[in-house]
Amino acid sequence: MIISIDILFIIIIVMFALLVCFTVYLMRNKRKYTALEQEIDTFLHTNKQAWYHHLINGEALDENLIPHHTHEYMSTERILLTYIQNLSNRDVQTRIRDFSNQYLQTYYRKNLQSRRWSNRMNAMYRIKDFQIVSLVPDCKKLEKSNLSMDESFQLFSIYSLFDQETFLEKLRTTTITFSEYEYKKLLFESKPEIRETLKEYFDDLPIACQYSFIDVLGFTIDINALPFLESQVNHETPEIRIRSLKAIHEIGVVTDIAIFLPFATSEIWEERLMCTKILGDVPLKEALPTLEKLIEDENWWVRSEAARMISKGRFGKEYLEKIMQTSTDKFAVDIATEFLRKGVTIS
């Protein structure tokens, strides 16, 4: 016998007994949860109006709104979240901040110290949402314990909003490296002053943070960042050059076309592509000589982008027709023909 029948039999009996217990527990839990939901709901309904008067009309705070029990805290959290997520009114946000700092602090401090990871995470979400600045020192205390990546990220994000010095310092010195997405999120949400300071520290930042920083400058269409970005197009790392070119294209302002022309002959096709896109931001007359070379590019994306840039410019169609008839380059003729025939529709 590989395993004794008796033992197996006992295992099964024990398992069944455990499962029965767990079922009973679960059913009771479900009932308790439903009851809790009901209480939350009742509290929410009784106080809905009072909250509206306080938050929107700025009336004095009703004593009854101050939570004392778990279901009251949960209910308050739901109401306040709804306001935060659906309104971007400065007064409302200030009132929520004041209320939370005064009356919800203890509740979230307790959750922040909870042994359960999800409780701590939820508490940090709320500290951010409700701007509970008074809990930042408690957050810092958390650093001493062994944090998960998600928790560290939430901490960074709290610092970026409420404690900029710590944020800048951490960003440069920490050994934790986040993903680009996370850096983008941190930098995008942070104040413009932080971004201004970061330009000076750029070379000290982790590489993923550098990439994200350039991207953020691009999609916030930060015109003041142009000189910085233009200086980065000559960076030694190709990825930084490409992203800087892309960001400049997104901002859409070309101060001096001469900065970008060398990229038309780059060995990296992404650089040629970005150069083509930037050429689309200047009048076609100026860009045409270079675009005529790029439409013969060996890379499909570069060729088709060049054709697109020509076609959308003034007299673009005529130029494309000329290329179609006179060019000796098969690629260029093909792409021009295709664009003349089909390119009128969505790209």
Binding site: L8, I12, L19, Y125
Partner: protein, 473 residues
């Protein structure tokens, strides 16, 4: 003792040992899932949705919906897709030479007009004859092509897709409104190291579907459907979560998954000559990842939910299971060199043996176990010890693990909030070993036989259309 006795004892020992390994494997996977779920228990996940909705962080997706004779449900599924919360999406319906009114219905319903569009053919497919664009939803396209099967339609869709990620969805499935946001999360946060992600599939039969969204989750009344609900839930808890944790996933459901287009093109797209084209693609991706020594991953994500319609009749279920098993074997066989090949790391050393021994050959040994028990009781008492042992192992495997999964799901995820529904599932899982299990074993063995004889006439499932059912209820 005669030779016959030795043979019987040998088989008794062999099957028991096998079942013991199976039970231990699944129990440990269940345990891993438990630890994962306990961590995120009551975590507020809506916070993450708010993040991802910002176009700044998210990656645009092309949603590809292959459709072949789907006139019954297509409009409802497209409406459901249009409801999805995601900043940048385009929808590409690929009409794979339908012989019914699929095309006319779509053109009429979404006021579609023919357009000219430059298509860059990166994966060969049957030619696309015409592309239509909706005048109501400019990001909704319909590609009309010659019939070439689902894989071919997906390949055509990939060529048309303009975004770096694409999502494949069955025409009869309904996505939860936040599903795309959540499935993209591991991709975005991992710096795009995750090149494919599969979502969680739930059974739509029985739920209320209103304007393309699931409004109430009720458990179906049909035992056959409930059994499938339990099966999907088991696959999720005793498989995908644990496998994904160690980058061992070989199957992400074709009904709802997101892929990085660049890698899929590199892998040559979907294989048109294979039955299980979704599994095949994942295996191919793993293969090139390992061959290029890339540390990219393929993940299963448990939050994003896709509701899909499952067969309600034995005959359709039989065809489906036969096809699935045939597809599994075909893929494993095609890439048999990866099995126990250290070059392919954990995929070769763990995933492949797991899928070969437990998933692929399981039905033969398990059905052997059933026969063994019956024979032992017929032939007298010398083998009865093994027979009892086997029966107990079957109970442990079938019933105990199923009930544990049901309860774990009810505790952590709570798809069916009504206690009555949970109890009904428990009750049915007790009966499973008497009817459902043997039936699926036989169907899967049919799949094995068809694989051996290389039969290709895999069955189609009759779609009733989700919305239609709602009306008729």
């Amino acid at each position: 003792m005669s030779i016959m006795d030795y043979i019987m004892l040998f088989f008794g020992l062999f099957i028991s040992l096998y079942m013991l390994i199976v039970v231990l494997t699944y129990s440990s996977m269940l345990f891993i899932s438990f630890t994962q779920l306990r961590k995120v228990y009551r975590l507020d996940k809506s916070e993450l949705d708010e993040d991802a909705i910002d176009f700044v962080y998210s990656k645009p997706i092309s949603i590809i919906v292959p459709a072949y004779n789907e006139e019954a449900g297509i409009v409802e599924s497209i409406h459901s897709l249009l409801n999805i919360r995601y900043p940048q999406v385009e929808y590409i319906i690929v009409n794979d030479g339908s012989t019914d009114r699929t095309q006319e219905i779509l053109i009429e319903q979404f006021k579609m007009k023919p357009i000219e569009k430059i298509i860059r053919t990166e994966i060969p497919s049957k030619p696309v004859e015409q592309i239509f664009q909706s005048t109501i939803h400019p990001n909704l396209l319909l590609a009309v092509k010659e019939n070439g099967g689902k894989a071919d339609s997906l390949n055509a869709g990939i060529n048309i897709a303009k975004y770096p990620y694409f999502c494949s969805i069955d025409g009869d499935s309904i996505l939860q409104e936040n599903a795309l946001l959540r499935i993209m999360k591991p991709i975005i946060t991992s710096n795009e190291k995750v090149i494919a992600a599969g979502g969680n599939i739930r059974v739509a039969n029985g739920t209320d579907i209103h304007l393309g969204a699931v409004s109430h989750t009720n458990l179906s009344n049909q035992p056959l459907v409930i059994m499938q609900v339990i099966e999907y839930l088991r696959a999720f808890l005793m498989g995908r979560i644990a496998l994904s944790k160690f980058n061992l996933v070989l199957i992400i459901s074709g009904a709802f998954s997101v892929f990085n287009k660049k890698w899929v093109v590199k892998a040559g797209g979907y294989s048109v000559d294979m039955i299980g084209e979704d599994m095949e693609l994942v295996v191919k991706l793993h293969r090139i990842l390992k061959e290029e020594k890339s540390d990219n991953r393929i993940e299963f994500v448990s939050d994003p939910v896709c509701w899909t319609e499952v067969p309600e009749k034995f005959s359709f279920l039989r065809k489906q299971r036969r096809r699935w098993h045939q597809g599994l074997l075909a893929s494993l066989w095609k890439h048999k060199r990866m099995t126990l090949n250290p070059k392919y790391g954990a995929i070769g050393m763990v995933s492949f043996p797991f899928f070969w021994i437990i998933e692929a050959l399981g039905p033969i040994i398990e059905l052997g176990g059933y026969l063994y028990i019956i024979l032992s009781f017929l032939f007298g008492n010398i083998y009865y010890e093994y027979a009892i042992l086997l029966t107990l192992l079957f109970i442990l495997y079938g019933t105990v693990l199923s009930i544990t999964s049901i309860l774990l799901e009810a505790w952590a995820i709570d798809t069916y909030p009504k206690s009555r529904d949970v109890l009904r599932m428990i009750y049915l899982s007790i009966t499973e070993i008497f009817w459902y299990k043997p039936l699926t074993l036989i169907w899967r063995i049919e799949g094995i036989i068809r694989f051996i004889f290389n039969r290709k006439d895999w069955g189609e499932m009759k779609r009733v259309g989700l919305a239609k059912k709602e009306v008729s209820r």
